[in-house]
Symmetry: C2
Subunit: 528 residues, 2 copies
C-alpha cells in the first residue's frame, strides 16, 4: 500500500469521509487512491478558497472535520482567507497540502515555497509528513488535532504519497475529555449574576446552540441579567422554539451603547468583546469602565465540546432551579409588496424561510433587517462570518449542504463579497446541492462607504477632488454585474427580482425545486 | 499631512503611479488620500489575486513597479498565488498591506493575523511601518527594494495612516548599479563555447529580450552552440525581426532529450535547469551526466538590470566579432478551416496576432502548437507562468494592458485556470482595457490527465473503480462552463467559436474594436 492509500484509509478510520479538493500534480497519487476508497466523498472545487470555506461550513454543521486537498504553497494561499474564518470559528478542518517530493525540494523548482510558514498563520497544528510508514499516523494525529477545534495542516510530499510501505491507522485517536467547569469561575459568575447589579451574559462558541441559549435564558429570567450573543457566532440556533438572543452589534458606537452601564460581564464561550476595527477616538476594548469581566468558560474548543453549555446549565440549575426557558413563539412577517429594499427583502426572507433551514449569512449591510424578521421563523441555524474574511458565503454554503443533504441551505450573499469565491456556484451545480443563494445586489462595497465616514477620513466630500476618486474605489456599478448570467455560466438557474413579489415568487420556486438556485435581489444600498 | 498622504506622495516620488487595489476598512485613509493625489491611478479589482497578478503584468511591461493595496492577512493570502509567480519572475512589486491600528493589535480582533509570516513566503523585503513620521521613507525603501527585482511588502497600520505628521519623500532612492560581468565567468563561458564540444546556451531573465537573444544567436552562429530559453520566461521578445529561440520543454522526458549529449551548459540569466515536478524514477536535475555548468550571469535582479544581456553582448563581441544575428523572417500560417483543434486554433492565432501584441500565455495544454505558429508573427512579447501558480493569465493581462495602453493584449487562457481569478474580466471592462481573451475550453484539467499517467499512479484505468473517481476530479464537464455568459455577467462582450472560421472572425472583430473581448474557443483536449 502506498502512502496516499494509507493516508486516505486513516482519514476514513478517523471519521473523515469528505474531502473538498482542488488537486495538482503533486496530489495525483492521492487522487488515484480515491478509486480504492469509495467511502471517501471527493468534492471538486474550482478554487481553493471554495474548498476551505466548504470544509468550514461542513464542520460547523456535521460537528466533525472534513479534509481539504490543496496544491503546494500557492494552493494553500488561495485557501487562506476561509481558513482564517475557520480558525476564528473554532472549526475543525484537516488540510492535506501536497508538496514536492522530498528529494526535489533542494532544487528550488518554480512551485517550491515555504508551506509551513503559510500554514502557520491559520493552523493550530502543522506537520510535515516526512515518512511513508508514518503518514497514516500523521493523518490520524491531524484529525485528532482538528477535533480540538482548530485547523490542522498536514504537508504531504509527493514521494511520501507514491512510495510503498504505508501503514493505515484503523481506529481514531481518542478525543480529549471535556474541560470541566472551574468551581471558582462558576461561583464568581453566580455571585455577579445574583448581585442585583447590571449584568450582561455574553454567550459564544457552543453556547449559541439551543441548549446553551435555553440555560442562558433561564439565568436571565431569574436574575434580570441581559443575554447577548457574540457578534459573529459560529453557529447560532434560532427561530420558533429556541430561546431568543440578540447579537452584540458590529458597529462600535452601537456596541458601546449596548453594553453601557453594565457592572458585570459574564463570558460563556465568548471572548471579552473588542471592536472589530479600530477607529480614531473610539475604544477597542468594549468592556465599559468599571465593569468586571467574569470568564465562565473559554472560547476555544471544538463545537461539540459543550463546555460553555455545560457551565451555563450548571449555573442555571444553581440560580434558577426548576425553571424553563422562554422560547421564541412562531411568528412571521407578512409578505410585503412593492419595491425591494433592505426592509422588504428581509421581510420576504422572514416570511418564507423554510423549516430546518441552514442560513449562511454574508449579507453585510443588506442584511440589517434580517435578525428581526426571522426571529420567529421555523427553527433554523444561522452561520456567520466569524473571521471577517469576505468571500465565505458561497463556499460555506457548499459545505453546509454537503453535511446536511436533507436540509435547505439559504445563502444570503452580498454582491461585493460574492465575487471573491463566485466559482462555488459551479460546485453547487455539480453536486446538485439544495442551496438557494440570494445575491443582494447594491453595486457597491456599501459597508466601506460607512467605514470611510467612521474612520474620519479627512477629504471625502470636501477638499481636492471632493471624494469622488475615493468613492469610485467602493463602487461596483461600472460595469454592472449580472449575477444571473454568472450563475448560468456555472450551471445554476438564476432569476433577477426587483420587487418584493418577484423575490417571493423566486424563493418559492427555488424552495419547491431540488438543487441550487440563485436569486439576484436588486436592493438599493442603505448608504447611497 | 497624515501618514497615508505621505505614503502616497512618496510612492509617486519614487516612480510608482499605479495601484491595483482591493481595500477594506483599515485602508480607508489610503483610499481617502487618493483624492489628493490624482497622479496615482487606482485600479479596482474584485479579488486580491487580480490585483497582485496585475502588478506582476504591469511591471513586466512597464519595467517599474506598481503598488497593490490589500486588506490585512486574508487579503494578502488571496493575493499570494500571483505574488508567488511575481517572485519567480523577478518582477518588482510593492505591496501595501493595511493592518489594524497598532493600538488595536493586542486585542486579537477577528481579522488579526500574522501578516509578516504570510508576506515572508513571497517577499524579498518585508517591513512593518510603525511610525507615521517614517512611513514616507518606508514607502521609498519598499520601491527601492522592489526595483532590485523582488516583491516588497510594506505593512501599514491604520493609525500610522490616519495620524498627522507624515513626511513625504520627494526623490527616489538610488537603484543599485548593474552588476558587472565577472571576468572569470566570461572566460569560462568563452572557453566552453569555443571548445568544439556540444554546448547549450540557456538564456533567461533579461536575456530573453531582443538584445539578449540577438547576442546569443551571434554566439550560436559562430560556435555551433545551441541556444535555448528557460521554460517559463518572464518576458520573451519574439516574432519577425527578433532572433528566434526555443524554450526548454516543460515535460521532463522532452527536456532530458533536448539537453542530452551536452558537454557544457552556459547559463545567461537562467537558473540551472530542474524539472518542474518530481516523478518516480525520473531526474529532478536536468543537467546531463558529464555536463559542466557555467553560470555567466545570475537569474536574480530586476528586469531592467540587463546584466545577462550585457554579459552575452560582451561574449558575442569576443567570440563573433562584427557578426549580425539571424532574425526571424516574417511568416504567418494560412488561416485554417474546419473544426477547432489545438492545431487549427494555434494557426488562427499565428495568422492574426497583431503587430506589437503583448501575449499573456496561460493556455497550458491547449497552447502546444502556439510557439511554432507565432514564430514569424509581427514582433510581440510573450509572458509566461513563471511560478506555476495557476490563475495568472487574466490578472497579468490586466496589468500589461494598463502598462501598455497603445498595444493590443492577447490573453491565451485555459478554462480550468481561468476560474481562479475570473473576476479580472470585470476590471478589463471597468478600465476599458484592450484585451482579447481566448478561453481554450476543453472541459478538463487536461494537464492533470497527463500528470496522472506521468506520476505512475497505480490504479487508474485498472483496479477498483477503474479510475473513474480519480478522473472525475480532473473533469470540468459537469456542468459545462459557459464563458460567454460569465463574460457577459462582468460586462465583457463574448462569443463562442467552434470552428477555425468562427475563431478567426471573432478575433478580427475583437482586434478591430477597442476594449475587452472574450472568445470561447471550443478546443477538444489533447488527452481525451
Amino acid at each position: 500500500m502506498n502512502g496516499a492509500q494509507a493516508l486516505l484509509r486513516s482519514l476514513l478510520a478517523s471519521g473523515v469521509d469528505t474531502c473538498f479538493a482542488n488537486p495538482g500534480t503533486s496530489e495525483m497519487h492521492f487522487v488515484a487512491a480515491l478509486d480504492g476508497v469509495p467511502q471517501m466523498r471527493a468534492v471538486l472545487t474550482l478554487f481553493e478558497g471554495v474548498a476551505t470555506g466548504a470544509a468550514d461550513g461542513y464542520a460547523r454543521m456535521a460537528e466533525r472535520p472534513a479534509a481539504t486537498l490543496l496544491h503546494l504553497g500557492p494552493g494553500l494561499g488561495n485557501g487562506l482567507a476561509n481558513l482564517h474564518n475557520a480558525r476564528r470559528a473554532g472549526t475543525p478542518v484537516v488540510n492535506v497540502v501536497g508538496d514536492h517530493a522530498t528529494t526535489h525540494a533542494k532544487y528550488d523548482a518554480p512551485l517550491q515555497s515555504d508551506i509551513a510558514a503559510i500554514a502557520g498563520a491559520v493552523s493550530g497544528w502543522v506537520r510535515h509528513g516526512a515518512l511513508t510508514a508514518e503518514i497514516g499516523a500523521d493523518a490520524a494525529a491531524a484529525v485528532a488535532a482538528a477535533r480540538a477545534g482548530q485547523v490542522a495542516t498536514l504537508v504531504l510530499p509527493a514521494d511520501v504519497s507514491w512510495n510503498d510501505g504505508g501503514e493505515p491507522v484503523t481506529e481514531p485517536l481518542p478525543v480529549a475529555a471535556r474541560t470541566p467547569v472551574a468551581p471558582d469561575a462558576l461561583r464568581a459568575a453566580a455571585d455577579a449574576l445574583s448581585s442585583g447589579e447590571p449584568c450582561v451574559l455574553l454567550v459564544g462558541g457552543d453556547a449559541t446552540r439551543a441548549a446553551g441559549l435555553a440555560a442562558a435564558d433561564r439565568i436571565a429570567a431569574a436574575t434580570g441579567a441581559r443575554v447577548l450573543a457574540e457578534t459573529f457566532p459560529t453557529r447560532l440556533e434560532r427561530g420558533a422554539g429556541v430561546a431568543r438572543v440578540d447579537r452584540l452589534p458590529y458597529a462600535v458606537d452601537a456596541a458601546v451603547a449596548q453594553l453601557a452601564g453594565s457592572r458585570h460581564l459574564v463570558l460563556a464561550g465568548a471572548r471579552s468583546p473588542v471592536s472589530f476595527f479600530a477607529y480614531p477616538g473610539k475604544p477597542s476594548d468594549l468592556v465599559p469602565p468599571g465593569c468586571d469581566v467574569h470568564p465562565l468558560a473559554g472560547r476555544e474548543g471544538p463545537l461539540t465540546d459543550g463546555t460553555a453549555t455545560a457551565a451555563l446549565e450548571e449555573l442555571a440549575d444553581l440560580l434558577a432551579p426548576g425553571t424553563a426557558p422562554r422560547l421564541a413563539p412562531a411568528s412571521r412577517p407578512e409578505l410585503p409588496t412593492g419595491p425591494l429594499t433592505v426592509s422588504t427583502a428581509a421581510a420576504v426572507v422572514g416570511a418564507l424561510l423554510p423549516e430546518g433551514a441552514v442560513v449562511v449569512d454574508e449579507s453585510v449591510t443588506s442584511g440589517l433587517g434580517l435578525p428581526a424578521t426571522t426571529a420567529g421563523a421555523p427553527r433554523h441555524d444561522w452561520l456567520t462570518l466569524t473571521g471577517g474574511s469576505i468571500g465565505y458565503g458561497l463556499p460555506t454554503a457548499t459545505g453546509a449542504a454537503v453535511a446536511c443533504p436533507d436540509r435547505p441551505v439559504w445563502c444570503l450573499q452580498a454582491d461585493g463579497s460574492a465575487m471573491y469565491t463566485i466559482s462555488a456556484l459551479w460546485t453547487h451545480a455539480r453536486e446538485g446541492l439544495d442551496i438557494t443563494t440570494i445575491i443582494y445586489h447594491n453595486s457597491a462595497y456599501a459597508i466601506l462607504r460607512t467605514e470611510l465616514m467612521q474612520v474620519g477620513a479627512p477629504q471625502v466630500g470636501a477638499a481636492d477632488t471632493g471624494g469622488s476618486r475615493a468613492r469610485a474605489l467602493l463602487d461596483l456599478g461600472g460595469p454592472e454585474l449580472d449575477f444571473v448570467a454568472l450563475a448560468r455560466g456555472m450551471g445554476v438557474p438564476g432569476v433577477r427580482a426587483t420587487t418584493a413579489e418577484e423575490l417571493a415568487d423566486a424563493l418559492r420556486r427555488a424552495t419547491a425545486e431540488p438543487g441550487p438556485h440563485l436569486v439576484e435581489a436588486m436592493v438599493p444600498a442603505l448608504v447611497p
